[in-house]
């Protein structure tokens, strides 16, 4: 039976100390990989006979504006259906130069998910066959899920954010 410890051990054996931030929030093994290695990690997790992470459950990004030099995190959720175990791994990238290798060659399902992530966060997936906006209008010139785009009109003065704002 595959456990989180075994997965961590195998990955550390293969990639060494470059994989960091090992955590297990709510039981799901989570780690961070350097952005040049994202495809190598995915491929290793996919190919290894024991690991078998052949299903890409989810792919999206998170914006951490205070994390200078690594503002954007692309998060992969992978699932091993044989042993029924999920892992999550993150790739951090600079917002000025958000280039990340595309996983479309490995997972067809990454196609729309990467387009969505590009659409909302502006992450440039290198090698994607058709990286254009998917849910927003083509003319949009910003990336709406980044934190600098406030949801509400910031010029409003009738709301006291100190008391009730979020």
């Amino acid at each position: 039976m595959l456990t989180n410890q075994t997965i961590q051990q195998k990955l550390t054996e293969k990639f060494g100390e470059v994989l960091t931030s090992w955590q297990e929030p709510y039981g799901m093994l989570t780690f961070t990989a350097p952005k040049e290695l994202n495809l190598k990690v995915l491929q290793f997790l996919y190919d290894d006979a024991e690991l078998n992470f052949t299903f890409l459950t989810d792919l999206q990004a998170v914006h951490y504006p205070d994390n200078k030099g690594a503002e954007l995190a692309v998060v992969y959720h992978l699932h091993n259906w044989k042993d029924n175990i999920r892992i999550r791994f993150k790739v951090l990238t600079d917002i000025q130069n958000p280039d990340i290798f595309s996983a479309t060659a490995l997972f067809q399902s990454a196609n729309f998910m990467e387009r969505e992530t590009f659409d909302f966060f502006g992450i440039n997936f290198v090698g994607h066959p058709n990286l254009i906006r998917i849910l927003n209008v083509d003319e949009m010139d910003y990336f709406p899920l980044r934190k600098e785009f406030p949801l509400e009109d910031q010029t409003r003065i009738d709301k006291d954010d100190e008391m009730f704002g979020r």
């Binding site: 989570t30 259906w81 029924n84 999550r88 729309f112 998910m113 927003n136 949801l151």
Partner: protein, 409 residues
């Protein structure tokens, strides 16, 4: 295609036709645009465009307290809203570390399986409508109405249900709700009899079989690579079901089988959904029996004890200080949640419906992502219909059960 016909270069017969199927075509049951390259009636190439009803739920959720996000989830798969609501409550409960009482779990299972039935019956009867058999749709539709009446008894609304709360339900099920459930489950006059009738009309119907067998097929391997989940994946022969793989809401207390197909074509998808409805009926019966076993004070339990997130009873708000404080804090979204990252998935009617919630310890999610099964498997649509006839594309779309709300979020 027409290589045997000798025509001069560039003459019109050798060219393909470009056809816009959608965005608002009556046969697509939603806003989908597909630009098709047709050779006669055969599809050479399809390009799909999505995003016509995108409503930025993920952004909106970043400014909302947890309880205010439930109505947003209603609008994902609007054919089976309670599953979305329950999935969201389960995600919040996982983040907050709330354990729900068994009775709540069973009541939730009843509602979720009713929702699954209402979703599958729509999908399957619409496959019938699109292949030219309208009557099956009319047979089952009255029972969707009955399901909606049950929702109405429980939460007061029908389509966008906003059912349940973090920790349980807003009120206990009334007797009228259980009576309607019994009416629904009745073997002679209820849904089982009608579903039997529906199957008699379709399953071995020569015309229907000719129309759907081999239409829009996909292999298990391709389906997995394309991120299929739910009935569409199971029709391709892979028995992945979140209810079995990672049971939530006490699904492990029930006996049921997971039907699988072989070829992943429209006919297999139809059969898998039909069988799932039978299994859902079975689960509801078991859950209802378990619910009836609770007696006395236990039969009054309909929520867990989470005062910081579950609204107190209104009469207490007027008479008790503590209740008033919690009421105010919840309504104003003042209760803070623990920091953490949660991914929680439920088996939606279309597949694995996942919620990825990142909390930084504030009052609202730092980031919320919906893993919508429709959005992910819709990518395979051009491949499924390529080389088929135009009319096959229409029934392939309805048998995939594409829901525009879930596609665009």
């Amino acid at each position: 295609m027409n290589d045997h016909i000798l025509l001069p270069e560039g003459s019109i017969e050798k060219q393909t036709t470009t056809l816009n199927l959608g965005p608002t075509h009556p046969a697509t049951h939603g806003v989908f645009q597909n630009i098709l390259e047709l050779d006669g009636e055969r599809i050479m190439k399809a390009t799909s465009t999505v995003g016509y009803i995108h409503r930025a739920f993920e952004k909106i959720a970043e400014r909302r307290a947890l309880y205010q996000i439930t109505p947003l989830t209603d609008r994902l798969n609007y054919c089976s809203t309670p599953i979305n609501n329950m999935g969201w409550h389960l995600t919040c409960e996982k983040l907050l570390g709330v354990a729900t009482p068994k009775r709540v779990d069973y009541l939730r299972v009843i509602i979720m399986e009713l929702a699954r039935i209402s979703d599958h019956l729509i999908c399957n009867s619409i496959v019938g409508v699109d292949s030219g058999a309208y009557s099956g749709f009319l047979y089952v539709m009255q029972f969707r109405e009955l399901i909606y009446e049950i929702y109405e008894e429980v939460c007061g609304s029908r389509l966008t249900t906003n059912i349940g709360r973090i920790g349980g339900f807003e009120r206990n099920f009334t007797n009228a709700a259980f009576e309607k459930l019994e009416k629904f489950l009745d073997d002679k006059t209820g849904y089982p009899a009608q579903l039997k009738e529906f199957e008699n009309l379709f399953t071995r119907n020569r015309i229907f079989m000719e129309r759907t067998i081999g239409c829009g097929p996909i292999s298990g391997e391709r389906a997995m690579n394309y991120g299929f989940t739910g009935p569409n994946l199971r029709a391709a022969g892979i028995d992945y079901d979140v209810r079995v793989h990672s049971p939530y809401s006490s699904y492990d207390d029930f006996e049921f089988t997971v039907p699988v197909g072989t070829t992943g074509d429209c006919y297999d998808r139809f059969l898998v959904r039909n069988e799932e409805m039978w299994q859902s009926l079975d689960i509801i019966k078991q859950a209802y029996q378990k619910v009836q076993e609770f007696k006395g004070a236990e039969a009054e339990v309909f929520h867990a004890d989470v005062p910081a997130f579950y609204l107190p009873e209104k009469k207490d708000v007027y008479t008790k200080m503590e209740a008033l404080i919690y009421h105010f804090k919840i309504i104003m979204g003042e209760t803070e949640m623990p920091a953490g990252e949660v991914y929680n998935a439920v088996e939606g009617a279309n597949g694995e419906l996942g919620y990825y919630l990142i909390s930084d310890g504030g009052r609202t999610p730092y980031r919320l992502h919906f893993r919508r099964p429709c959005f992910i498997y819709y990518q395979a649509y051009p491949e499924l219909i390529k080389g088929g006839m135009l009319s096959d594309a229409v029934i392939t779309m309805s048998s995939l059960n594409l829901i525009a709300g879930e596609l665009d979020a």
